[in-house]
């Protein structure tokens, strides 16, 4: 198939977006064993904040394309900040009071939060913009056609795709450094393994959990902005399907395992696109999920998941 390399490339791009979101699921699951259903919506909020910034900049006469790096930075920072604050608030008010309740109750609370966020964004945007389906200003308009020897047709690469991948890689590296090298990251891993013992070492578990939500949500918010610039239109409902996919990516990578979630996200993105090339776009999700289920049958704890230990 001639377009296979192109499909692979596009799959990588969407895969990096999934990976950034999947990290949020996996980090929260790591410390709380909770599927944070609202995470997809935090991603969506990030997309809206970033888009609003780009729209506002255009309104002030600064078209994003004039200084794309500045525009992207100005969109990313508030989006990450708002998403982080929202994530921490969700943890504080929707999960922490229920932490000792049965898992199902927290799960219901999470689903409730997800609806609340979606409808609030819709409400706010309807009041503010008079609509809630927002077109996203273009930031990096260039498209490159790269001829690769041996390939029948040149590869099409959007400048924006490169930025998405680059930003995602940078964030993943920073996150990995934070988790592996810093005191906070150490405490996070300790809490993930055994919160009671961590508390006995003087680790304030609540703070670490809040920090986990903060970091995961900030990355989700950034993913939202990157997604918005890449896929051009956003609605308050984009978080659901993408959230499910990112969550699946996290599970396939081995939930609780951060490198695993990167791997799972990228794998899902590539499978989806390349699979879609063979079986048709209609079945691309079916195909991708079938492969992922197969992975889980042979490796139930996920690709990089190894910890199958009881928590006391």
């Amino acid at each position: 198939m001639d377009i296979l390399p192109q499909l692979f490339l596009d799959g990588l791009v969407v895969g990096f977006v999934y990976a950034l979101i999947a990290v949020g699921y996996t980090m929260v699951y790591g410390v709380l064993e909770l599927i944070n259903f609202a995470h997809g919506d935090i991603f969506m909020v990030g997309a809206f904040v970033g888009t609003e910034v780009l729209v506002a900049l255009a309104g002030w006469g600064l078209r994003a394309t004039a200084d794309p790096w500045l525009a992207l930075s100005l969109a990313l920072l508030p989006a990450m900040a708002v998403a982080a604050a929202l994530g921490v608030a969700v943890e504080r008010f929707a999960y922490r009071p229920l932490r000792r309740s049965p898992r199902l109750i927290i799960l219901i609370s999470a689903i409730g939060v997800s609806f609340i966020i979606e409808d609030l964004v819709r409400l706010v945007e309807t009041i503010h913009q008079g609509k809630f389906v927002l077109p996203v200003p273009t930031v990096f308009p260039d498209v490159y056609h790269v001829s690769v020897p041996g390939l029948p047709s040149p590869l099409t690469i959007k400048a924006n795709s490169l930025v998405v991948v680059g930003a995602a890689v940078i964030m993943m590296v920073v996150l990995t450094l934070i988790v592996s090298r810093t005191r906070a990251g150490r405490a996070m891993r300790a809490v993930a393994e055994d919160p009671v013992t961590a508390a006995l070492q003087g680790v304030d578990v609540d703070r670490i959990i809040a920090l986990t939500f903060l970091i995961g949500s900030a990355m989700g918010g950034a993913a939202g902005v990157l997604f918005a610039t890449q896929y051009t239109t956003i609605t308050p409902y984009i978080g659901f399907l993408i959230g499910i996919k990112a969550f699946t990516a996290a599970v396939v990578g081995g939930i609780g395992n951060i490198p695993g979630s990167f791997l799972g996200g990228i794998l899902l993105g590539v499978l989806e696109q390349v699979g879609g090339g063979f079986v048709g776009a209609k079945f691309q999700n079916v195909f991708a999920f079938c492969v992922l289920v197969a992975v889980l049958i042979f490796k139930p704890s996920g690709l990089l998941g190894q910890r199958v230990q009881e928590k006391v």
Binding site: R183, R189, E193, A199, L200, L211
Partner: protein, 277 residues
């Protein structure tokens, strides 16, 4: 052990200095029930500074429950627990640790996916002051602090006999080493009171000997007060200053090892069986 100057117990906190001669830890009529089961019943306990104080008693006597109440895992149903004269009953574990109490566990509870060094560094968590933004921005302060912490952690590892094993994942260490690592991690909290839950469990006589030496050294060289749960009577009688005996949640005897050894109630409830064995 001489090099580990940085991990000396912290100076007594405000107001506590005047009571230096009083007990480090005092339990007053502490009880804990689980449903209908009484785990600990109105126990009084006073631990003098600088002593090794042992808790003994048959399985289910309530020793570990008492530990859990002291360290904030359980809140006592009745009574109060004072540490250096201030109540710690019902404080969350991290606050108890902040006051200066740390512990080990009957079943080793290390962070298995972290290295030995990282385990100790988690214990030092309280004493690292850099905040999140320092960390993200990687200020020189963070750098300096982290370097200092790593040096200190390596010294602690050396002190418990794990020098050079810092980069091993905790789960890959042999059992005896894991127990020592747990002690090193507890020391990293810089406690004034160290609670050891069966430190010699599952060890051969030679390892047991080494653990006794270690505990004795902690007391002598660091001025730590140690509360010890132990089944191995050789350990208990060998290093304890005071022994408290629990049975069915209640205190049935207390005194120096020699007196306990001769106490008829103790012999009946506990030692008798041990002797038969």
């Amino acid at each position: 052990m001489s090099a580990a100057g940085g991990t000396a117990p912290r100076p007594a906190q405000e107001g506590a200095a005047g009571r230096a001669a009083g007990p480090v830890l005092e339990a007053r009529g502490v009880s804990k029930r689980f449903g209908g089961l009484v785990a600990v019943e109105r126990v009084d306990l006073a631990i003098a500074p600088g002593t090794v104080h042992s808790l003994i008693g048959p399985n289910g006597a309530g020793k570990t429950t008492l530990f859990n109440m002291i360290t904030g895992i359980y809140r006592p149903d009745e009574g109060d627990i004072l540490f250096r004269g201030r109540s710690v009953a019902g404080l969350p574990p991290e606050k108890v640790a902040e006051r200066g109490i740390s512990r080990t566990f009957q079943n080793v509870r290390l962070f298995k996916e972290l290295t030995a060094l990282e385990n100790v560094l988690v214990g030092m968590h309280l004493h690292l002051r850099a905040n999140f933004f320092d960390v993200v921005l990687h200020t020189p302060r963070v750098e300096a602090e982290e370097r200092r912490a790593r040096r200190e952690a390596r010294e602690l590892l050396a002190a418990v006999g794990l020098g050079g094993l810092g980069d091993e994942l905790a789960k890959n260490l042999p059992y005896g080493h894991q127990r020592r690592l747990e002690i090193a991690r507890a020391l990293a909290v810089r406690p004034a009171l160290l609670l050891l839950d069966e430190p010699a469990a599952g060890m051969n006589p030679r390892e047991t000997e080494a653990v006794m030496e270690l505990i004795d050294g902690l007391r002598r060289e660091r001025g730590l007060t140690i509360l010890l749960i132990e089944h191995d009577m050789k350990v208990v009688m060998g290093i304890s200053d005071v022994v408290t005996v629990l049975d069915h949640g209640a205190k049935i005897a207390e005194g120096p090892p020699d007196a306990i050894r001769r106490d008829p109630r103790v012999i009946e409830a506990y030692l008798g069986k041990a002797v038969e064995r």
